[in-house]
């Protein structure tokens, strides 16, 4: 069959394209862990002997650990605040019809598409104008700004996935709006809530530009890494750190995605 042969060639071409794409996507990233175990200050082939000394140096570096814990503090607060705001907004968007609902949904995307550098400058100007002391708090506030839309979309997709009749049934059986939230909405939305917490955590933890503009005396981890690039002999430690962050990010994102998909179908209440 002519068309069969043609489509087979086409399929092979697409497979090749797919493989090349993945190589392009992941090989540069894989250099990080590779060179982090290489016993040399220079990032170059051929590789020298295997070592874990960069990892040892990393854990001994007080400044680095301090930056790490700063980042964890900021990211943890950002994930909680933006997820709470996200739940509230998502409830409004999915359960109520109100004037301006569509424009509001559109405006919500804005912080995601405004270039970080523009947003950074704007927030810096505003902080100066309002007289805010630049600190980890200003960084966290900026991160909440970009993480909330993200959390809202995760929660909207979760809340759209379950039957609003369940909340009405709870009201019907004597629960108020608040207790209905805790007895029905929260447990059913829990996988989405966990996914939102993890994803917004990562978003804040990785964020550089806004932190760069809005930091005070204390650095977050991306700022610390940036500052170390001036010193070539510190580069292998940064590679070791990068490898650790990469691994943690992959695990967290994969887990968050798995959580987000959990139990959407049974919650729909159509299963026989």
């Amino acid at each position: 069959m002519k068309t069969g042969a043609k489509s087979r060639i086409g399929l092979r071409g697409l497979t090749l394209y797919g493989i090349l794409y993945l190589v392009f996507l992941y090989v540069p990233v894989l250099f990080l862990p590779l060179f982090s175990f290489n016993d040399s200050l220079h990032i170059a082939f051929p590789l020298k002997t295997f070592t874990v000394k960069w990892y040892e140096q990393m854990f001994a570096n007080q400044e680095l650990l301090r930056a790490f814990f700063n980042s964890v503090k900021v990211a943890a607060s950002v994930s909680v605040v933006s997820t709470v705001l996200g739940i509230l907004a998502a409830r409004a968007f999915t359960r109520y019809r109100f004037p301006g609902r569509r424009p509001a949904l559109g405006l919500l995307v804005l912080p995601l598409v405004v270039p970080g550098i523009i947003l950074g400058i704007a927030l810096l100007i505003m902080s100066k104008w309002a007289g805010f002391q630049l600190s980890l708090i200003t960084i966290a506030a900026a991160h909440v700004l970009i993480a909330t839309p993200f959390a809202t979309f995760v929660m909207i997709s979760r809340l759209e996935g379950f039957d609003p009749n369940l909340e009405e049934a709870s009201r019907d059986l004597g629960e108020s709006g608040w207790t209905t939230f805790w007895r029905v909405t929260f447990p059913l939305a829990l996988p989405g809530i966990v996914a939102s917490l993890l994803l917004t955590f990562i978003e804040s933890f990785d964020e550089f530009i806004l932190a760069f503009f809005l930091s005070g005396d204390e650095a977050t981890l991306p700022l610390y890494i940036w500052s170390q690039l001036r010193f070539p002999r510190n580069l292998p430690v940064v590679l070791a750190l990068g490898a650790c962050i990469l691994l943690a990010s992959i695990i967290i994102v994969a887990f968050a995605e798995w959580m987000r998909r959990q139990g959407v179908s049974p919650a729909r209440n159509t299963k026989k």
Binding site: L166, E168, A169, S170, R171, D172, G174, E175, L188, N269
Partner: protein
Amino acid sequence: MENRSDFVSLRDVSKHFGSVRAVDGVSLDIAQGEFFALLGPSGCGKTTLLRILGGFEAPNSGSVHIDGADLTIEPANLRPVNMVFQNYAIFPHLDVRQNIGYGLRHEGLSKAQMGQRIDEALATIKLEGLGDRGSNELSGGQRQRVALARALVKHPKVLLLDEPLSALDKSLREQMRVELRALQQKVGITFIFVTHDQEEALSMADRIAAPGEGAPSHGEAVTVGIRPEKLTLGDRPPPDGANGVKGILTAAAYLGERNHFFVTVDGVADPISVASQNSTPVDHKGWREGSEVWLTWEPAGARLLRG
């Protein structure tokens, strides 16, 4: 059982969504212990009416009274009314017992009393032994029973059912008609249900209302539908001359609890079926097949059918 004829009372209830008048000036009285049907095509406002009774929609005007109390603006969670949702809305994260016990938390019961109430409810719907099932392990019919139990366990004054049989397949639907009717007679609670299926309404309800349908105009030919047990057999016309028709008794059957009579009426092709409980004393007056008898009924027991 039918103590009050205005146990549930709607007065001039209107509800509009934007420019759409879903419910337009409906007044309705429903008696205590009655099995009442709201019949009509989709979009005729019957579900909106049910949701107004449940407290999920506030009417734009008019009033809603249940057992004498004004509930027009009472929120759903404070009404002595429970609802069986069309898709049953079984809580997917809870098992059968937890679903049934969901609404008992604010009743001030001890754990043991609560367990007892749930056991009773499970027995009422014949699902004993399935209490620990997860809600995803239930069939459609079982889900419906759980939804019924979850509402009835609260001992509501009125039970609302939104298209209670539409989610079931055909054979189960016919079985559930009989069971729902029997359940309602047993618990004696006022049932109000919404359906688009005329046969369903006629086979289950004591009385039927069709929102959005006006009174028949003079001279219009209509059919009157009456449940067999709402007809009374007698040997003389009703005193006021209305709501009665003369016929010939063609068959009588004595079926233990119930007696069935068939009466042929001029202009009606099929004999009309009349049922009476054996406990009610029927004076047979020596009727036999061929005797001339009168069928009479209460206006409230009849339903006008068109077409």
